[in-house]
């Protein structure tokens, strides 16, 4: 059952003084979503110009999840992302330039081109890595949460993954482990209805691939509207509260949809007719712009945010275009902690 805060059931009430989000936060959530959208849209444009190389996996249409969690997380909280991790990385405050730079394999990229788009990492921002082997990071997030528990740190580890990931063994091991050890970790399933090209329903024994498994770990069943940043934010805050209170993990399934193909190689021909269009009507940014208007935010404020974001993305693009390629000598650096790669004397 989708968990909807009772007070939020109709638009009228949202304008009430009981508004739990508040204007400042609301503008932040909007700005964040726009930034994720524009940065990824730019990544796509740069790919068409042959400036983004390798593969890349966009979250266009899924921004409300990254934004809702990103805004809810405190400094020190840790993000564990997938190859589809641009948005989650940006949502922790990593500069657009650093992300685009990595996609463009420039020296100013987050990892100077060594990792590429599937492995975005910024430890200083709490982005502990983007993992490209399905399921691998769920146990890893448990480990980071174990450290917090052991050390008495109050940070929460948040682990993002897709619907398809719920069918791999590591999902199961991590969920059981996290519950048995009562770890402060939040598992966020972004159910965008597809694994790569195959509909998740074709290959999954239950309707909700994450939520319908929660009871197998003694967890409550949580399905939320992943295209509504407010709802995401609330679910995040609630899960964080549980985690920080020492009451263990949560598993949250967010219903959403990706507007683009799985990766740059995918024209997404497998979609049934009309499906994309239907979901575009539920575009999280569109929804949120309407929300802002309901709360009386003027077009000028919205346009100003849009313009500011665009400026950031434009500046980042220029900086990346101007940035040098990585120097060749980094090929063999940082294999080991001594900075090098020597496996022999």
């Amino acid at each position: 059952m989708a968990r909807k805060p009772a007070a939020m059931d109709d638009a009228a009430q949202r304008n009430s003084p009981n508004d739990d989000i508040g204007e400042a936060l609301r503008l932040k959530l909007y700005r964040m979503q726009v930034e994720l959208r524009e940065a990824e849209q730019r990544a796509f444009d740069l790919f068409l110009q042959n400036l983004v190389k390798g593969t890349s996996h966009l979250s266009l249409g899924q921004e409300a999840i990254a934004a809702g969690f990103g805004v809810a997380m405190k400094p020190g909280d840790l993000s564990f992302c997938t190859y589809r991790g641009h948005a989650h990385t940006l949502a922790r405050g990593v500069p657009v330039e650093k992300v685009l730079g990595e996609l463009m394999q420039r020296d100013n990229g987050l990892m100077r081109g060594k990792g590429g788009s599937m492995h975005l990492t910024s430890v200083e921002h709490g982005v502990m890595g983007s993992y490209a082997i399905i399921g691998a990071h769920l146990p890893i997030a448990c480990g980071a949460a174990w450290r917090a528990q052991y050390k008495g740190d109050k940070d929460v580890s948040v682990c993002f993954f897709g619907d398809g990931t719920t069918n791999i063994g590591a999902f199961h091991e991590a969920l059981n482990f996290a519950v048995v050890w009562k770890l402060p970790v939040v598992f966020v399933c972004e159910n965008n209805l597809y694994m790569e090209y195959t509909p998740i329903g074709d290959v999954t024994a239950v309707e909700h691939p994450a939520a319908d498994r929660a009871s197998a770990y003694g967890l409550p069943r949580i399905v939320i509207d992943g295209n509504d940043a407010d709802e995401v934010y609330r679910a995040a805050m609630k899960a964080f509260e549980i985690a920080r209170a020492g009451n263990g993990p949560s598993l949250i399934e967010c219903m959403t949809y990706r507007h683009s193909g799985h990766s740059r190689a995918d024209p997404a021909k497998y979609r049934p007719e009309g499906e994309l269009e239907k979901w575009k009507e539920r575009d999280p940014i569109k929804i949120y712009r309407e929300r802002l208007k309901q709360f009386g935010v003027g077009d000028d404020v919205i346009e100003k945010i849009n313009a500011e974001v665009m400026q950031v993305v434009n500046d980042a693009t220029e900086a990346c275009k101007a940035a040098p390629m990585p120097s060749l000598d980094i090929l063999t650096t940082d294999v080991y902690a001594d900075g090098g790669w020597a496996w022999r004397n």
Binding site: H119, I134, A136, L331
Partner: protein, 326 residues
């Protein structure tokens, strides 16, 4: 005779075997309706239907386990593991189940299946989607291991693999999918365990596999043109069974050995070949056997870095020349 891509050769090879034998079935992620993420299996779903070409969940252990159970009891499954790097999430089947079941049961259990997988670098996918891991399979007793370099070999070795009564790991090279080659019409069936001398020569022997074969050939042309050095290039094609006779005979003629490996250095197949030759043909060798490999590092994503990591024609030619001159 038709010109075919390596990619299309995969689909043709599988189709040839599925047409021949109803017990040949095919499973993997996105292989069916979508035709595979590398588009190497386009058309099979339409031709053979959803009962023989089955899309699976993201459950590599279930894919390989199911393939094994089916193989044990009468089917001839072909399983796709999308990227060879993902062998790491289902390695128990590769290392402990497929190859040991016949031996442990004193011959009672058979395991005739093929695992095909996209191997190797060149797509700028980074460290977890670019590895060349033939040695992960070669090191396990009980497996057979194949890695074709041409469309023709893809079809012929695929047929041989499917017809083989033992588990075969079939490495397709991602950077070869778009390459083309002439392929005769009609049924093509090759033989596992046969290396091919793809360029005869007298001054040195170069052993190569998969993507390294065209690079070794290019190096050979350069060495000839620029330095008058005439090297023999052998495409190993199959690591298990291993055609050591062809290798030893070549070294007996050329007296020098070079191996060109894409895998990172330690415990690669080059080490095995060098140690066989050093032991059994020590007195044939006129100089040290040399391994040319990717350095022992994870692979970088950036194109200029990835290109630097892999052996290329220039590096191969340079190393051979320096060695022969020195």
């Amino acid at each position: 005779m038709a010109e075919l891509t390596y990619r299309d050769a995969v689909a043709r090879g599988i189709a040839q075997e599925m047409e021949r034998d109803n017990d040949v079935v095919f499973l993997g992620e996105d292989i069916g309706k979508a035709g595979g993420v590398f588009k190497a299996t386009v058309g099979l779903y339409e031709k053979f239907g959803p009962l023989r070409v089955r899309d699976t969940p993201i459950s590599e252990q279930a894919i390989l386990g199911a393939a094994m159970g089916a193989a044990m009891t009468g089917l001839k499954p072909i399983a796709e593991i999308m990227f060879s790097d993902f062998f790491a999430v289902c390695f128990d089947y590769i290392a402990n189940e497929f190859p040991k079941s016949r031996y442990m049961t004193n011959g009672q259990v058979k395991c005739p299946l093929v695992v095909r997988t996209g191997n190797g670098a060149g797509s700028r996918f980074g460290a977890q989607h670019s590895q060349s891991i033939e040695n992960w399979a070669m090191m396990i007793p009980g497996l057979k291991v194949v890695a074709p370099s041409t469309p023709l070999d893809v079809i012929g070795l695929m047929a041989a693999a499917v017809r083989d009564p033992d588990p075969v790991i079939f490495f397709e090279h991602k950077s070869l999918y778009a390459t083309k080659g002439e392929v005769p019409d009609g049924e093509i069936v090759d033989t596992l365990g046969t290396a091919k001398i793809v360029r005869p020569g007298k001054d040195a022997t170069i052993l190569a596999l998969a993507l390294m074969v065209p690079r070794a050939l290019e190096a050979a042309e350069r060495l000839k043109a620029e330095h008058g050095i005439d090297v023999e290039v052998i495409d190993l094609r199959s690591l298990v069974p291993l055609d050591t006779q062809t290798v030893l005979a070549s070294v007996a003629r050329t007296h020098r050995l070079f191996t060109v490996e894409e895998n990172p250095r330690l415990c690669g197949w080059g080490a095995e070949l060098v140690s066989i030759v050093a032991d059994e043909a020590f007195y044939d060798l006129d100089g040290p056997p040399v391994r040319i490999t990717t350095p022992h590092i994870p692979l970088p994503a950036a194109d200029i870095l990835e290109d630097l990591a892999l052996p290329n024609a220039e590096r191969i030619a340079d190393r051979v020349r320096r060695s022969l001159e020195g």
